[in-house]
């Protein structure tokens, strides 16, 4: 364990150092391909195995375990250059519940790739929430490629929030696919602020296979300068009484470009999916409302975008 690196990472990610000293809060800190801090709580097992440029990580939450405080994870790279590969295998056993806050920080990136491959199995009646906050530097030399295959058992719950609103995006290519059994609930949210020549690709797919499965795919992207964003959202309802909603909003400024491809499929006469998308400039009425409060056009646009990405 390298305590100095852990401190540097936590500072960069904006994590309170005190949190990591608490016995009842689990954490896992990784700098490049090394574990620099690890602590588990009863019922939670975290194992790591070194691989080239990264780590295999197994996370197991035992049956019935309710982890009270969010687990703090940090995947970062302090070096300017390099590849970080993280392969995560997560199993949340029956009736267990856990929240994870994952801080991904690459403050010095000049030429860095962060490649995450995850398989996540959330067993019956289990709950898993994963809030992934990226803190990037002001240089664009970062490529983030998170991919995940998630399976939800009966009555299971999964929520993921991906947030990248500070620093440059660089290139981000998200690819998440989830299958949902009976009475399970899926919520996938992504909020990204892209500037300069950043490139954003989001692919979110949900299969509501079980009866009464519910799913929401939500994306909020703001694009400025010459940045480009494309969002592909696919939600399929195949179970009776499955309910889903796809919601995409992308705001474009300057020479930015955006696209959204929503695919909604319903394979059962008692299932229902709705879709909503809004792409383009800032809403004129919102803009004029704030300008009528005395805000300049730029201030009003900033406020609207910050709100959208909240």
């Amino acid at each position: 364990m390298n305590a100095d690196d852990a401190v540097l990472l936590s500072k960069s990610a904006g994590i309170e150092a005190e949190l990591l000293k608490k016995n009842n809060i689990a954490h896992l800190f990784i700098n490049h391909d090394k574990v620099v801090g690890i602590h588990a709580v009863p019922g939670l097992e975290i194992e790591t195995t070194p691989i080239k440029d990264g780590l295999d990580i197994q996370v197991l939450l035992r049956k019935q375990t309710q982890v009270k405080h969010p687990v703090q994870m940090c995947f970062g790279m302090l070096p300017k250059r390099g590849i970080q590969r993280i392969n995560m295998d997560v199993v949340i056993e029956e009736h267990a519940s856990i929240d994870v806050i994952a801080h991904c920080t690459f403050p010095n990136a000049v030429d860095v790739q962060h490649i995450m491959n995850a398989t996540i199995s959330i067993k019956d009646h289990a709950s898993y929430s994963y809030f992934e906050r990226h803190v990037h530097g002001q240089k664009s030399g970062i490529t983030v490629v998170p991919k995940a295959k998630i399976h939800l058992g009966s009555h299971a719950r999964y929520q993921t929030d991906f947030e990248l609103i500070k620093g440059r995006v660089g290139v981000i290519d998200i690819d998440y696919e989830t299958t949902c059994a009976d009475y399970s609930t899926l919520e996938m949210n992504a909020r990204i602020n892209a500037t300069h020549d950043d490139v954003v690709k989001i692919k979110e797919v949900g299969h509501l296979n079980g009866e009464h499965a519910h799913g929401v795919l939500l994306s909020r992207v703001a694009v400025r300068d010459t940045a480009d964003a494309s969002v592909f959202s696919e939600l399929t309802a195949s179970g009776a009484y499955a309910r889903g909603h796809v919601d995409c909003k992308e705001i474009v400024q300057d020479q930015g470009t955006v696209s959204a491809i929503p695919v909604v499929k319903v394979n059962h006469p008692k299932a229902h999916i709705t879709h909503e998308a809004s792409l383009g400039s800032v809403d004129s009425k919102q803009l004029q409302t704030l300008m009528a409060r005395g805000l300049s056009e730029d201030q009003a646009i900033d406020m609207i975008i910050q709100g959208l990405l909240q």
Binding site: S284, R293, S296
Partner: protein
């Protein structure tokens, strides 16, 4: 001289005259109503005064506190002291009521934000951190709109159809707020086709087919409007001016 002077203002949209030589003075510290049926041009005139997009290419002159404001942007007009409450206010995803209400305040402080919310009947503890989004009812959103204007403490307030989409209790609260604003010297222009709202006004401008057909005290306009405009028996096409004398 009024705080707001509108002189011979006309506006054409798609080749059609929407406002036709409108001239009115709005007097400082009084409540005025711009009254007329749907399509008379009331909201258009309010949009022209605020300088909203699509309503700036006018002929005629607008003066606020003696200064010509035709060429000023919306925000510049707002900073001069003109404020506007929309008939159907915009919703904002992710913007808290606290942020929205404080957006136009010169000096942001919690006490004033809370006071503005309390004045419109909203409990700050319950509302400050809610978003100005679709989770608010129409009445709540109207109250937040009014609170945000109160927080600006502007000398001149325009409220477009302040009673639309709200219940009787909320209307009463709105009326109380409007009277309180007058008491502290704020000039108010109510855009309305409602007799209930019209009764709050000291003075009224009766508008029809893009033109002002009468200016008088509200108590003189009310019976004419009630008898002749509800329903409108001349299809929004007045044939004569000076209707009160006819």
């Amino acid at each position: 001289m009024g705080i707001l002077e509108i002189k011979n203002v006309s506006l054409q949209m798609d080749g059609k005259k929407i406002l036709d030589e409108v001239s009115v003075d709005v007097w400082e510290g009084h409540i005025h109503a711009l009254v007329g049926t749907n399509g008379a041009g009331k909201s258009t005139l309010a949009s022209v005064i605020m300088g909203l997009e699509g309503y700036r290419d006018i002929t005629g002159d607008l003066f606020f506190n003696g200064e010509r404001i035709n060429d000023l942007s919306i925000d510049a007009r707002a900073r001069k002291g003109i404020s506007f409450g929309w008939q159907e206010p915009a919703r904002f995803e992710g913007i808290s009521i606290e942020s929205f209400v404080s957006a136009g305040m010169k000096e942001k402080n919690k006490k004033s934000i809370n006071a503005a919310l309390q004045q419109v009947g909203l409990n700050p503890d319950e509302y400050l951190h809610r978003s100005v989004d679709t989770t608010l009812s129409g009445g709540e959103r109207k109250k937040v709109e009014l609170a945000s204007i109160i927080a600006m403490d502007p000398p001149f307030i325009m409220l477009d159809e302040p009673d639309s989409g709200i219940d009787v209790g909320t209307l009463k609260k709105m009326a109380e707020v409007i009277k309180a604003l007058k008491k502290k010297g704020t000039t108010i222009l109510l855009i309305t086709h409602s007799l209930e709202v019209l009764k709050l006004a000291d003075h009224a401008f009766l508008m029809c087919n893009g033109t002002i057909i009468e200016k008088a005290t509200a108590d003189k306009i009310i019976p004419y409007f009630e008898n002749n405009c509800i329903p409108c028996d001349h299809k929004n096409e007045p044939t004569t001016k000076g209707v009160l004398e006819s």
